[in-house]
Every structure is written in structure tokens, then in C-alpha cells.
């Protein structure tokens, strides 16, 4: 029996696209048309719009910082909720300016799906392409395209078709296949929650109908066990290793191997406070006790003995630089993958590309700047457990730290000893 909508996991989608193409307005429109806005909130928006001398501005639903409203842009990512009879949604709004790309990536990395907005009048712009690249890098498979502001192009089908053709060519080059494309006006509401009377030539679903068809990102239950150890506690004299199962299942009595160390152990018990469990699955935060109580520390990953993660210290990877301060050859970094953290260096920047134009900037480059993508060889100070992103997402993605900050996100293609 299927659980009621309120008890099923929510679908999280991020709204991306170039600055001023209508992302925040769309959020306001969705909340407004699904009657998710409290009267006091509408009143507050009316008041704030008035103070700044604008008409009622739907984007204020989510653009909450004073600076966001006076500059009429989104600076930071934010999340809000709405529900339909079928299910609940989390909307992640992401800023469109290049200077706020770090916030955009932060927002998009938490999404199951993306709504990709293009201003029908302005067409495909720099951040349109960059955001598409980021979605591809993050592995977001479900993308819905909205051609917005159709009211400004006289609701013309020809313009809609032309943009779709241009966009699908670009999407194909980065491996994204859109689930559909919808002509809308977020400002007026056409094809958002209600079919448009202005575009009788469009007979496809509205945005709300399309959202209902999106799938949750599947929990990788069918993959082999990956249990990255977060910590080791002693509770009432017993050692318990804790963590979240990132893939597969674990049960009491099972033999596992910890990588990168290679140490084997048998699971004695599965521990969850106030619960009586003998097994657990992907997504659950649990504890394990081990027979013989071997000293397993944070950073080890429990795997099935016959299907362990690969271990190595040389990674072939793509990294997306987020920081305003460029990376320069020779700098040392720290790599964090699941609960592992090791020092690392970039041995070679084989190719450097622009994340918007996808043009090759340089081969064997010496530095990487914000929004550039480096196809690199990374060398870690000691061996780590890692896998290609396509095969095992949780051990195939990592961040790079420099000083106190997360400076880049990366995707593993290959790992070698």
C-alpha cells in the first residue's frame, strides 16, 4: 500500500537559469497558485514592495534579504515548500549571477530534479549554459525546461521552437536530456499551474503536471554496501562505530571489509537507539558493533568482502572551481570524500575548459579560476577508497579544501594505485 502524500519523501527541485530570467518570480507564482502563501506573508510582500516603490513583486516570497529586494536580484540560495494533493515539494531557488555560483552549486547539489528557465525574449545566455553544465556535473538526470516570458514574444510558437532547437543541441553536448519543454509566463501564470489560453498551440502538460511525474532520486539499495564510518563511540563499555549507509544493506552476522585499510570483521549487532534491528539499509544513520572489537576509525568504509570499493592514491577527475581565489600549480589541498579527508596535490591539469562555452582554455594549464572546469590528475598523500561517480555516487564525488574553505567540487572518473 502506498503511503499518504504527507508521509512520502518530498521531491526537491532546483530552479536554475540566467539572471533575471524569472526564477524567483516562478517560485512566487507556484506558491501563489497552489495557495501555499499565508495571508500575512502576502501582506508583508505588499508592504515591502510598496516601501521600495514597486508593484507587488512575487519574487519577494523567496528573495528575503534587504539587499536582494533593493537590488532586485537573488544573492543566496533558499528553500521553500508547497504541496499538491499528490505530494510535497521543496523548491530550491538558486541565484543566477556568476559571482554567486558557489551558492547556486550549494542549492543544486541537494536536488532530485531541476527546472531550467530560459527567458524567451533574451534567449540562451552565459549562465543558462553554465547552469546546464553544473546540473550535468552534479548528475541531476531529470531536467524540465521552461521557456519563460512568452508574453513578451507575443506567445509565438516559432520562438519557442527555435529556442528548443538551440538548447537541445547544447544539452546533447553535455549529456543532459530534458524531459520536456513548456512555454510559460511565470508573471501571468500561463502553463504554470493552469493551462494557457494565450497559447492554444501548446497541448502538453503544465509545469505542475510535469512536476507530478518526476521521480525521487532512488536510494541505491541494489548497489553493494558502502558504510563510511563517521566516528567510534564507547557506550556502556561497548564500542560502536557509527555512520550512514550510503549504498546497499548491512545485517548482523555479515562479514565486511573496511577500506582503505583492508581489515576484515564480522558485524555483531546493528544499533539504533530505542529500536530493535538486525539489519539496515541505504539512507539510515546507524551504529554497528563488531566481533572482536577491532580499532576501526573515521574514514574507513565498510563494504561486502566480495565487492569492496577500489583503493588508490591517483585519481582522474573533473573539478569545478568555486572560489574567487584561483588555484595555482604547486598549492596543496585537502580532499574530502564521504568521511575521508587526506592531503592532496594536483599533479597535472590536463585540460581546462570554460563551464559556459565549453571551450578549451588550455592544455596542461597552471591555474584554475572560478567557474572553470579542470580535467585533472590528483595525487593523495595516502591511499583512499573511491569509485567512478557513475558507478557509485557517494564515493565518486569529493570536495577540495584550501585553508578554511571548500574551494571546489569534483567527480571521479578513474582511480589508480
Amino acid at each position: 500500500m502506498e503511503a499518504p502524500a504527507s508521509e512520502r519523501p518530498q521531491l526537491k527541485f532546483v530552479i536554475v537559469g540566467h539572471v533575471d530570467h524569472g526564477k524567483s518570480t516562478l517560485v512566487g507564482r507556484l506558491l501563489y497558485d497552489t495557495e501555499s502563501l499565508p495571508p500575512s506573508k502576502l501582506e508583508e510582500i505588499r508592504k515591502a514592495s510598496e516601501e521600495l516603490g514597486y508593484e507587488v513583486e512575487l519574487s519577494y516570497v523567496i528573495d528575503h534579504l534587504e539587499e536582494e529586494r533593493s537590488r532586485r536580484i537573488t544573492i543566496d540560495t533558499a528553500q521553500t515548500w508547497f504541496k499538491t494533493p499528490e505530494r510535497e515539494y521543496v523548491i530550491i531557488d538558486a541565484p543566477g549571477h556568476r559571482e554567486f555560483i558557489r551558492n547556486m552549486v550549494t542549492g543544486a547539489s541537494q536536488a532530485d530534479a531541476a527546472v531550467f528557465i530560459v527567458d524567451a525574449q533574451e534567449g540562451i545566455r552565459e549562465q543558462t549554459r553554465r547552469h546546464a553544465y553544473v546540473l550535468g556535473m552534479l548528475g541531476i538526470q531529470q531536467v524540465l525546461v521552461l521557456m519563460n516570458k512568452m508574453d513578451l514574444v507575443n506567445w509565438q510558437k516559432a520562438r519557442f521552437d527555435e529556442l528548443n532547437e538551440e538548447l537541445s543541441g547544447f544539452f546533447a553536448s553535455i549529456g543532459i536530456r530534458a524531459l520536456g519543454s513548456i512555454p510559460v509566463s511565470a508573471k501571468l501564470g500561463d502553463n504554470v499551474a493552469r493551462p494557457s489560453k494565450n497559447m492554444p498551440w501548446y497541448t502538453g502538460p503544465t509545469l505542475l503536471d510535469s512536476l507530478a511525474r518526476l521521480q525521487l532520486t532512488a536510494r541505491p539499495d541494489n548497489l553493494p554496501l558502502r558504510f563510511p564510518v563517521q566516528d567510534r563511540y564507547t557506550i556502556d563499555g561497548r564500542a560502536i562505530i557509527v555512520g550512514r549507509i550510503e549504498a546497499g544493506k548491512v545485517r548482523a552476522g555479515q562479514e565486511v571489509v573496511f577500506v582503505p585499510s583492508g581489515q576484515k570483521a564480522r558485524v555483531a549487532t546493528v544499533e539504533m537507539f530505542l529500536r530493535d534491528r538486525t539489519e539496515a539499509e541505504a539512507g539510515e544513520s546507524i551504529g554497528l558493533t563488531l566481533e572482536g572489537d577491532p580499532a576501526i576509525e573515521r574514514g574507513q568504509v565498510a563494504c561486502p568482502v566480495d565487492a569492496p570499493a577500489t583503493v588508490g592514491s591517483r585519481l582522474s577527475a573533473s573539478i569545478f572551481w568555486l572560489s574567487d581565489t584561483p588555484f595555482r600549480s604547486g598549492e596543496t589541498l585537502r580532499l574530502r570524500c564521504a568521511t575521508q579527508q587526506v592531503g592532496c596535490s594536483i599533479e597535472r591539469i590536463e585540460r581546462l575548459t570554460d563551464s559556459s562555452t565549453l571551450e578549451l582554455i588550455a592544455e596542461n594549464a597552471q591555474s584554475i579560476s572560478a567557474t572553470q572546469v579542470g580535467h585533472v590528475i590528483l595525487r593523495t598523500d595516502r591511499p583512499i577508497a573511491a569509485e567512478p561517480f557513475a558507478a557509485m555516487p557517494s564515493l565518486g564525488r569529493f570536495v577540495l579544501m584550501r585553508g578554511h574553505d571548500v574551494e571546489a567540487g569534483g567527480i571521479v572518473q578513474r582511480i589508480e594505485s
Partner: protein
């Protein structure tokens, strides 16, 4: 068996609590004794199998409801909590109260009291039960959020946070606010309270046609009209209401950006 929404929310929160404990040698949890932080406390008990290894902090303005103090002392004892109470004694002695100034009172008795406590106890991070859906400005928060020595929140320049890799390195003098329940909604909280049977102060339940939906100080909280006198009835009420959760909280009302300013100065 597929995880339910509540399972997913709980699992992520426990993961974050354990990350914070691993990372910060001097961690504490702020407990206002309301529904959110009591749920956070419950999640901490789960994360550490009933043995929370860090202190639980109550910032006491002295203007709290009587049942808050009773509930605090009863469960601090029952759950074996290491309770620390923080009060700005100097400001209280000088007669600071909401009658003097609402913003000033929040600043002195909450924010300043917390500052004094952090300095005295040397905390490097605090767990807080705030949620994105409470207020537009909280929707912009990160799970791990740095605060400088003057308590300032640099909301224009927040750290990147992706793939559950939270900021784990901080400049000297900075402390971190950790928000393990950022992704929960008000309804999620009540559904989880029902599922787990978490004890909660009776102030949330309707008496004489009114109940408190969000609890702060006695003087600055207005009850909302309601007949919901059980957890089930509250869930029923919230499933249909369109009124904002903090509609009864004075701090949110002085001006549109009061909350942004309070938070930038270190308000919780």
C-alpha cells in the same frame, strides 16, 4: 522497505549531529524547551544512544513561562543532561525588560547572554533547532554556519556546502552554528513528535480556545485561536492553516527586516 519522509529527515539530522560532535571538541546544544529544540534533543539522544556527550544550554531571560522551567528541570534529570543555564545577570539587575525595548531586551537577555556564556565556557560550536520554513531569512542558512568573534553572520558570503561536506575548518575566534533540522517543516516536527511520542510542554495545547504555536518569552508571545488540545489535533490544524508559524512572535513584527538584522547580530 522504503524509508519514510520522517526516517529520511531523522537520518540526515543524526548524521549532521555526529559530524558536529566529531569536528568540535567544545560542542553544546541550545535548548529553549520548545518543540523544535526538544525534538533536536531527542535526535541527539538517538545519535548517542541515550548518552549525550556535551552540555545542553538554556538561555534564561527570566521571562519564560513557568511550565518551561518545570519541563526543563524534569527532563534534564530524567535524561541525565548536563544542563548549563546562561543569564545576563548584569542586564537583569539593571532592570532590562521588554517594556524598556523589545529589540534591546532580546539583544541583552538572549544574544548577549549567549555571548557571555560562549566566552565563559569556550564553546566552539552550538547545535540549534532552527528550520528553513520558519522564516525567509532562516531559509538562507547553511547547516554549518560560521559566526565571527563579534557574532556577526556574513550572510552575503556563506560557505559552499555540497554532498554533505560541511565546513570543518574555522578561522581563529570564529564559532560555528550547526543546524541539524534546517530541512524540517513545522508539520514534520509534530508528526515526528507523534511517531516518537516525544514529551512536550503543555503550552502548545489549546486551553479556552487559544494555544501557543511558537514559544518565546511569556511577555512577547501571543496565543493563536485554536481548539487543538492534542498532538493529533495540532497536526490536523496545521494541515489546513495558511497562517504563518511565527505570527504571534513580537520580534518578527517591528519592521520587515528586523529578523535579518537580529540574526546578523547573532540572534538565534
Amino acid at each position: 522497505m522504503a524509508l519514510t519522509k520522517l526516517d529520511e529527515l531523522e537520518s540526515k539530522s543524526i548524521f549532521i549531529i555526529r559530524e558536529a560532535y566529531h569536528q568540535f571538541p567544545k560542542l553544546g546544544m541550545l535548548w529553549s524547551i520548545g518543540k523544535d529544540s526538544t525534538t533536536l534533543l531527542w535526535l541527539c539522544r538517538k545519535a548517542f544512544f541515550g548518552h549525550i556527550p556535551f552540555p545542553i544550554i538554556h538561555i534564561d531571560t527570566t521571562y519564560k513561562f513557568a511550565d518551561i522551567y518545570r519541563f526543563r528541570d524534569e527532563y534534564a534529570k530524567k535524561w541525565g543532561l548536563r544542563l548549563i543555564v546562561g543569564r545576563n545577570e548584569a542586564a537583569i539587575a539593571q532592570g532590562m525588560s521588554p517594556k524598556v525595548s523589545k529589540l534591546g531586551c532580546c539583544g541583552a537577555l538572549k544574544t548577549e547572554a549567549l555571548k557571555q556564556l560562549i566566552e565563559r565556557e569556550g564553546f566552539d560550536a552550538l547545535l540549534l533547532g532552527i528550520r528553513r520554513d520558519e522564516h525567509g531569512i532562516r531559509a538562507k542558512e547553511r547547516y554549518f554556519s560560521p559566526r565571527d568573534k563579534n557574532f556577526q553572520w556574513d550572510y552575503q558570503n556563506q560557505p559552499a556546502e555540497l554532498w554533505d561536506q560541511y565546513k570543518n575548518s574555522y578561522a581563529e575566534g570564529t564559532h560555528a552554528r550547526v543546524h541539524p533540522m534546517l530541512h524540517w517543516t513545522e508539520l514534520d516536527i509534530w508528526r515526528y513528535i507523534r511517531r516518537e511520542n516525544i514529551p512536550i510542554t503543555s503550552l502548545y495545547f489549546a486551553r479556552n480556545g487559544k494555544r501557543l504555536r511558537s514559544i518565546g518569552c511569556e511577555c512577547c508571545c501571543q496565543p493563536v485561536p485554536s481548539n487543538a488540545s492534542t498532538v493529533d489535533e495540532i497536526i490536523q490544524e496545521l494541515s489546513t492553516t495558511t497562517e504563518a508559524e511565527r505570527a504571534g512572535r513580537a520580534q518578527d513584527k517591528e519592521s520587515v527586516y528586523t529578523m535579518q538584522k537580529l540574526r546578523a547580530m547573532g540572534y538565534m
